[in-house]
């Protein structure tokens, strides 16, 4: 009844090419942003902002990056954690080497550094694909984390290997990073970064770049024959994806945990983000957010579950049960809907269009 495009005529090419051609989608997006910017900071407690919303946003960005690479360009990667670490350490080195540099610029530059590293580790994708490539990207994962752990230069020769992120401000004196920044400030800053980058991603995938990625994904030889250069398309996908992952890693280190350490970006992080992408839906911007929300909320829900239903279980038992439930849920989700939450969302929209008179 409410979600219906009947009567919305496109009278110009601009209207035809709009990102969100259906009016209700636009309203929904604006409402969502309003809620995210105004309602959430007002209602949510500091705990909610800093332990649920922040990781959700940071993970969404990483999942978005991986989704561009795996979902759109079809290059399976398990090196996400390594690229996030790269972004985090690039941001740390830049921020400490140039203390006066604007933090936004630091993040963008660290994203670019990561993009360069991503291109380097994307080179094997020109030769190999599928699971061979996935295992090859593990090389990036282990190598990068080792490098950041091994060489003191990256941590400015800090003795413990764990370093706190330097506090930085935007607009003169509004601190957004470091431990002294307010949760609201961190949240709003992260939200803005994620929103802008998500919009950019949405636009990239519907431009000729995104279309060339999808052609490569569907069949790279056929794509090559119709004139798409695999070199630029694949390495471009690696670069853009790594850019997103790098910024996400920088946000993780500077804003979410306020400490820069390579161990936070180990192989389990890569898998976690791959889970998000697949649970959320491969080849869907919306899916990255849904998947991140699912994976961030699930462990919190699971660990609070026993107290909610009034059963007391030992701590190590809880963690084992968490593992089991997590694994079982993933299998369950894949069986029920292999195309992820985004597909469920799409189905719901289709249903809504016909509701309440399906005939």
């Amino acid at each position: 009844m409410f979600y219906r495009e009947a009567g919305q005529f496109k009278t110009s090419y601009a209207a035809d090419q709009a990102i969100f051609p259906i009016r209700q989608d636009r309203y929904f997006l604006v409402a969502l942003l309003l809620v995210a910017y105004l309602v959430v900071p007002m209602l949510a407690s500091d705990y909610w902002l800093s332990t649920i919303m922040l990781p959700f946003l940071v993970f969404s960005l990483a999942a978005l990056g991986l989704n561009l690479l795996t979902g759109y360009a079809g290059q399976l990667s398990l090196g996400t954690g390594g690229f996030m670490a790269c972004g985090a350490f690039a941001a740390y080195k830049l921020a400490t080497a140039f203390p006066d540099l604007n933090i936004i610029l630091v993040f963008i530059l660290s994203g670019l550094v990561t993009a360069a590293v991503g291109i380097l580790f994307g080179i094997p994708s020109l030769r190999i694909k599928g699971f061979y490539l996935a295992v090859a990207t593990l090389a990036a994962q282990f190598f990068l984390v080792w490098v950041f752990n091994k060489f003191g230069w990256f941590t400015n020769y800090s003795s413990s290997g764990v370093i706190s992120a330097p506090p930085r401000a935007i607009f003169g004196d509004y601190f957004v990073t470091g431990s002294s920044a307010s949760p609201e400030g961190k949240y709003l800053f992260t939200l803005t970064v994620v929103a802008v980058l998500a919009l950019a991603a949405k636009n990239i995938v519907r431009s000729h770049i995104g279309r060339s990625w999808m052609a490569i994904r569907d069949m790279d030889i056929a794509a090559e024959i119709i004139g798409i250069k695999p070199l630029t398309a694949k390495l471009g996908a690696f670069a853009v994806s790594s850019f997103y992952c790098g910024i996400s890693g920088a946000l993780w280190a500077f804003i979410y945990t306020s400490s820069v350490e390579a161990l936070a970006f180990d192989i389990t992080r890569s898998f976690q983000i791959l889970f998000m992408v697949i649970i959320g839906g491969l080849g869907s911007i919306m899916g990255s957010f849904l998947g991140a929300a699912f994976i961030v909320l699930l462990p919190i829900f699971l660990s609070n579950m026993p107290t909610l239903i009034g059963v007391s279980i030992q701590v190590d038992m809880i963690s084992h049960i968490e593992f089991m439930t997590f694994g079982a849920l993933i299998i369950f989700f894949l069986i029920v809907e292999p195309h992820g939450l985004a597909r469920l969302w799409q189905v719901a929209k289709e249903k809504l269009r016909l509701w309440p008179f399906p005939y």
């Binding site: 030769r127 190999i128 593990l138 091994k150 024959i225 889970f275 593992f323 089991m324 299998i331």
Partner: protein, 311 residues
């Protein structure tokens, strides 16, 4: 200059001066490579027969070892515990086929891959919930005294591991080449649909393959468990088997063995002779880089099926 010397000159000088030490490192590397092969074998079996990249192989190794140790700790004699574990692994294979694989038939490879990651989480949690998460020692009376052969020190345990791996490969080869089931397995590996159309029951075959992979996992679990103690890190051994896998090719059993030998040797030699030059601790990633270098020249691995693509 000093760095270049440490990378390009010093290691070779050292190798030339101490050939016995070098031989010892090489033999040690080869033998530890065999251990990687044991895990990689399970991957290859399942990938060959069902096209599933089974990430849960590491979890299966852990689960088998945990079950074995748990049963022995509960007072079962070792031989009986092994038999019981074999039964458990077969039941596990049947369950996996029924609960995970059958509903996901015809899905894309990446979906199945994800499902096996989910399975590995489940098994990690399940095994540790049943048997506890503290480190256990597994002692089946395998000797582990160092011995000397022609001036080279070799650990007896490593030799036995190599023998076990060799025997395992021989048994698998006979099983695949000479038996009726083995022939069916090879047919399924070649082409699912063609195999189905000549009347090979795919479901049974998958259950068999997963059972065999479970048994290989048990063998790997016994060897690794004896070496490292039975604990959660056993599941991470699977990560070490991955470069072996891409080096040897996903579909080749001899590839898994030879890949393991190359990786094991390369890793040890690099760690001992080149490690000091770049700061040590390189075994985390060296195997991957080595495999990557091979892949650039042979994208399907050393012994993998030639990749033929049609548009």
């Amino acid at each position: 200059m000093e760095f270049l010397n440490a990378v390009f000159v010093a290691p070779f000088v050292e190798i030339f001066n101490y050939p016995v030490f070098f031989a010892e490192v090489v033999v040690g590397g080869l033998l530890s490579g065999i251990m990687y092969s044991l895990v990689a074998l399970g991957f290859v079996l399942i990938f060959k027969a069902s096209g599933v990249f089974n990430f849960a192989q590491g979890a299966m190794v852990l689960f088998a070892a945990l079950t074995l140790v748990g049963l022995i700790e509960h007072g079962m004699p070792p031989w009986m515990a092994i038999v019981a574990t074999v039964v458990v692994m077969i039941v596990l294979a049947l369950t996996v086929e029924r609960v995970v694989l059958r509903p996901l038939v015809n899905q894309e490879a990446i979906i199945l891959f994800m499902a096996t990651i989910g399975l590995s989480y489940f098994l990690d949690g399940f095994g540790q919930m049943l048997w506890g998460s503290d480190v256990k020692t597994l002692d089946l009376g395998i000797p582990s005294a160092p011995m000397e052969y022609g001036g080279i020190q070799v650990n007896q345990f490593d030799l036995i591991a190599a023998l076990v791996a060799g025997a395992l490969v021989a048994v698998l080869a006979v099983f695949f080449q000479k038996t009726r089931v083995g022939r069916a397995l090879r047919a399924v590996a070649d082409d699912h649909q063609a195999a189905l159309s000549v009347g090979i029951p795919l479901k049974t075959i998958w259950a068999i393959v997963w059972s065999v992979a479970g048994l290989v996992g048990l063998v790997a679990g016994i060897m690794w468990g004896t070496k490292l103690g039975v604990q959660f890190t056993l599941a991470l051994v699977a990560l070490k088997a991955l470069p072996v896998l891409i080096l040897g090719g996903f579909t080749s059993i001899p590839g898994a063995i030879i890949g393991g030998l190359i990786i094991g040797m390369g890793e040890k030699v690099a760690e001992v002779f080149w490690g000091p030059a770049i700061g040590g601790g390189i075994e985390d990633w060296f195997a991957y880089m080595l495999a990557l270098a091979f892949l650039l020249f042979r994208p399907q691995g050393l012994f993998g099926d030639k990749i033929i693509e049609r548009v």
